[in-house]
């Protein structure tokens, strides 16, 4: 991203005589660029319009009610919002330390060739479709969680309300775990980018003053890149919030708020995936669209923060030579 900024400054300010072809080309490409804005506006408009019936019937109670029963036309979004937020937080709790650690290793310690090869593998990890993560999670992770991890957690940390209740294998914890594997590549690649954008002199100065490699990294380089790292965290969060398939397959799909992480729950994306094609009547589909609108607003908010932070850091430093 830093290189992009440099190239951008080189763009010519050459004035060229305007030909008819130029005007046409400019107008055509402009139209397509404007199409992107139009699609986004259309998305907002359609979400708003199609959820009108639910907003009229349910009002703000929709967001706070925890009753979800399509048969009796009761729709409350709270269990889904809760499930989405909890699984995403569990995911971040695991993926941020892991991702930051790996990013530090890749940018500060590993020789360039090894770093590039490993980054390539991590990018492939990001390319794996979410349904594949779900497939693996159902048949390998869920039994492991049910038979070993969850009984162990109950045995050692069972006094906490977070780890109470029977071990089903599916639930918030398992979903969060799968999400963490899916968000790590995003945390790593953006954090690594920001760490590489820290000027080399910063490291050299710290080392010359007698700091160890770790002290120079943790006290000088990481704080210097903190906005970009924070940006990567938010990017990962937005990713986790909107993730559908893998979560749908392992969260348990029970529309209740449970305080135990071992209990099954539900997420916004999962309920849309499960119920949308079979939703009848007017309010049920509209309520699902409204859930989509809530999810859309959440991710847009978090994404715009993330983008601004990443722009702020990567345009500031210069890349390591």
């Amino acid at each position: 991203m830093a290189s992009q900024a440099v190239v951008a400054e080189q763009q010519p300010a050459v004035k060229i005589a305007t030909h008819t072809g130029d005007i046409i080309a400019r107008v055509v490409t402009f139209t397509f660029a404007a199409t992107i804005l139009a699609i986004t506006l259309l998305l907002v408009y359609q979400l708003y319009k199609s959820s009108a019936a639910a907003r009229a019937a349910l009002g703000f109670g929709f967001l706070t009610s925890s009753e979800w029963n399509p048969v009796t036309d009761q729709f409350g979004a709270a269990p889904f919002i809760y499930g989405t937020v909890v699984t995403s937080l569990v995911a971040l709790l695991i993926s941020v330390p892991m991702g930051l650690g790996a990013a530090i290793f890749l940018s500060e310690l590993a020789p360039a060739r090894i770093s590039n090869a490993l980054t390539f593998v991590i990018e492939l990890l990001a390319a794996i479709p979410s349904v594949i993560y779900g497939l693996l999670a159902i048949f390998t992770l869920v039994p492991l969680m049910r038979l070993y991890v969850e009984p162990f957690l109950k045995h050692t940390l069972g006094f906490l309300p977070l780890f109470k209740g029977p071990a089903y294998g599916v639930g918030y914890l398992t979903a969060g775990l799968v999400l963490s594997i899916m968000t790590i590549p995003f945390v790593i690649s953006v954090s690594r980018e920001s760490l590489l954008a820290v000027p080399r002199e910063q490291r050299e100065a710290a080392l010359a003053l007698g700091a160890t490699r770790w002290e120079s990294t943790w006290q000088i380089v990481v704080p210097y890149a903190k906005l970009g790292i924070l940006g990567s965290v938010f990017l990962g969060l937005a990713r986790a919030l909107g993730e559908t398939m893998a979560v749908t397959m392992v969260i348990g799909n029970v529309p209740r708020i449970n305080y135990s992480l071992l209990a099954p729950g539900y997420s916004i994306a999962a309920v849309i995936a499960n119920e949308f094609s079979e939703a009848g009547g007017t309010i049920h589909p509209a309520a699902l669209v409204e859930l989509g609108l809530v999810l859309f607003c959440l991710t847009i908010l978090i994404n715009s923060f993330a983008r601004l932070m990443i722009i702020a850091t990567t345009s500031k430093g210069s890349k390591r030579a």
């Binding site: 763009q11 699609i39 998305l43 650690g101 990001a126 479709p129 979410s130 943790w218 999810l295 994404n303």
Partner: protein
């Protein structure tokens, strides 16, 4: 002295930990691949590619319709999405007037971050609702909306990397600006642009969330205007079913899907884009 020793220990421990983080993350890929090859390999046969799905209990059967369906849906999505994304990218790279360009770039990044299931809702309201039935067309429109911002940003990035001297050369020879773009800049950046397109298509090919209620699924061959099954949706359906036969089919489908996605990724990144850094966004 004691303090120095302590600092050295902390240094060693923390640096080792960062290494462990890396090893764990990287090995995740190999564990995933290993599982898929082992489980999927057991049930993958020639029939999988040539036969239609069979009811539970019957042996054999495949997912030929889902493979063709995926090709149909993704192909149409590429047909809609690539031209729009490409031309928008050309605008951002070549005609950018700072303010409008910044807005488009920012909005494209936001659109790229919109959850795929929400994009599915958009396609549902635009196609399924007015036509009163699910269709491959609806699915491909959802995927096209996801593809556009990816292609736009990648095209822009790679066109910007074309050296200034090439542009000046073309202009000095008397080419008008659009001729310069069409005959010099785009060919020079074509490798990177093509890489971006392949990566984008590979990404949407694995999407299932926006297809569940747009393209739906079909036990037989689909069509542009009919419900059509796709590999990702079949994996979801079969994996969450209670039947062992179907689980095995899901593994086989998973192996085929990941084979396609990773092959496209590796080819695009290694062969086509030698020396070109592929940005992520």
């Amino acid at each position: 002295m004691n303090r120095l020793l302590w600092r050295k220990i902390v240094n060693g421990v923390m640096l080792t930990l960062t290494g462990i983080c890396t090893v764990v993350t990287v090995s995740a890929l190999f564990v995933i691949l290993g599982c898929l090859v082992y489980q999927g390999g057991k049930s993958l046969s020639w029939n999988f590619f040539t036969q239609l799905p069979v009811p539970v209990g019957e042996l054999g059967g495949g997912m030929a319709n889902a493979i063709v369906g995926t090709a149909q849906i993704v192909g149409m999505a590429a047909l809609f999405g690539i031209p729009i994304g490409f031309l928008a990218g050309v605008y951002l790279a070549e005609y950018d007037d700072k303010k409008f360009g910044f807005v488009v770039r920012y909005v494209a990044d936001l659109l790229n971050g919109v959850p795929s299931i929400v994009v599915g809702i958009l396609a549902w309201t635009l196609v399924v609702l007015p036509m009163h039935h699910n269709s491959a067309l609806a699915g491909s429109i959802a995927l096209a909306v996801m593809l556009i911002p990816i292609v736009t940003r990648q095209t822009e990035q790679f066109l910007r990397e074309v050296p200034l001297s090439l542009r000046e050369g073309a202009l000095a020879l008397g080419a008008s600006k659009w001729k310069m773009i069409a005959t010099v800049v785009v060919p020079a950046g074509s490798k990177g642009v093509l890489t971006g397109m392949i990566l984008g298509v590979a990404r949407i090919a694995g999407e299932s969330a926006p297809l569940i209620f747009t393209a739906l699924g079909n036990q037989y061959w689909g069509g542009i205007n009919e419900p059509t099954s796709s590999l990702p949706v079949m994996i979801y359906k079969y994996a969450t079913s209670p039947f062992d036969d179907w689980h095995q089919q899901a593994w086989a489908a998973g192996l085929v899907l990941i084979g396609m996605v990773l092959t496209a990724n590796i080819l695009a990144r290694l062969v086509l884009a030698r020396g070109v850094s592929v940005p992520r966004g």
